[in-house]
Symmetry: C2
DNA sequence: GAGTGGTCTAGACCACATC
DNA sequence: ATGTGGTCTAGACCACTCT
């Protein structure tokens, strides 16, 4: 079972297991420093490369981070709550902020955004969801959201070009009433949405935009909106770093009470 | 931007970027074999350890797998659809299978399960959700679900001991009508649930139970059920390997149509 | 037996932040 | 200047599977 703990296991796995157990058991707490590579070398009687192999296991597991030139530290994580359900609830009549910003301000933190609008060719993933052909031109409204100056998630909205040509959505300015409202004004009222969540390791581009550390997986949330007639009007790709978010929603029971 | 592509980047990053780009662009397709470590050594003019560093980046990104003694191959993934919403919908009157098994059979595949029931002490995560004190004894009904003999997800249900003592839930047998129904018969009808999804790298135990490859993150889905009075009656922890699942749910709009 | 990846040793030089 | 982790070389032996 606990193969890595066996004395027959490779040395680097024993090193990883040793410090993993100390972290899980609470002996090492978030923010605590591990021994240096040099010290672990002497503790286990192996060369530095072997120590590095062991620690790299814990780095890719997201348990520790290297802070040069200080050493390795137990990682701490703080999850912001992400509620996909709330997107389909009414907003205040005259909103000054989108829902993300409202939530952050309510938590006493400072939100900011970087918005970038461009015309791109639809890849297969987006083409299928937006009911267009791969390679068709679509509008991408790319946004990185920050909390207290730290990049926190990616929110890239995509629209079929025909729907939003010459509308406000084409401007890289902040739309306080939200793109859904603009779409509704253009005659494309969103009636229902399909949410898909994938879990994977980030691409180098995502690592760069979100300033992700090694061993940080991401959730990709595809939110595809449709009119009552079933026409796709937008597909938003949210990329949520696993160490900064938890996804929350609620369900009411629909059982027959006589059951 | 594409730092790893710069000629100034470390050799192992250039190697990783080279094959990552070939995979993303489609030049290398799922199932294709990469050159051997020895061949890449000659292609880049570096020693084997450096090649291994580069390839290990792609392994931990989940893009490739090592199949000894054949070589490295581009990984292929197949996502089963996971619908947390369906848990709160009525089932057929006389179910012979749980929802998971129903779906798998409908897809023409063969489900199976390993069930294990035990009494455990609640850790802080479960204690908080089940409204008990940390260290209190709770009932854990642990289940690994298989498709065609391959482990696919973990489904561990937890109950306060007082609620289910001496009930069928304590037996490690398959309950075709579901534990929710058994709880309802005991007088604890579930009225609503809160779902929380975390994204992280798996623990060694999860790697073992689910036979996970390196670079595979997991989603942890906490499904906590409450009676109408707000009493927590169960907390189920689903562990979903990222390379085998996508999470899907739907939303109807709740806007005021006059908006 | 040949070839694959898995592990390990014993060195070396570097960039970087702190003292 | 010191000490940290980051990268790299040049070897070695091993377990495993295919032929």
């Amino acid at each position: 079972m606990d193969v890595a703990g066996h004395s027959g296991a490779p040395a680097y796995q024993r090193i990883a297991a040793t410090y993993r157990n100390k972290i899980i058991s609470g002996e090492l707490r978030p923010g605590d420093q591990l021994p240096t590579e040099h010290e672990i070398t002497e503790l286990f009687g192996v060369v530095r490369q072997t120590v590095r192999s062991g620690l790299s296991v814990l780095v890719t597991e997201g348990l520790i981070v290297a802070r040069r030139p200080h050493g390795y530290f137990v990682r701490q994580r703080e999850h912001m709550v992400y509620r996909p359900q709330q997107k389909s609830r009414p907003r205040p009549a005259t909103p000054e902020m989108d829902r993300f910003s409202q939530q952050i301000v309510a938590e006493g933190r400072t939100p900011s955004q970087l918005i970038e609008v461009s015309l791109v060719q639809a890849g297969p993933e987006l083409a299928e969801r937006l009911q267009v052909n791969p390679g068709d031109t679509i509008v991408a409204r790319r946004r990185v959201r920050f909390i207290n100056g730290e990049p926190t998630n990616i929110n890239d909205s995509h629209f079929p070009l025909d729907l939003v040509r010459d509308s406000e959505i084409m401007s890289p300015a902040y739309l306080s009433r939200g793109t859904d409202q603009v779409l509704a004004e253009l005659g494309y009222r969103q009636d229902y949405a399909i949410d898909e969540i994938f879990v994977r390791m980030p691409t180098p581009d995502e690592i760069h935009r979100l300033n992700l550390g090694p061993g940080t997986p991401v959730a990709t949330h595809y939110d595809t909106g449709y009119t009552a007639a079933g026409q796709a009007v937008q597909c938003t790709v949210n990329v949520l770093p696993g160490d900064r978010h938890k996804i929350v929603f609620e369900r009411q029971w629909q059982d027959d009470p006589g059951n």
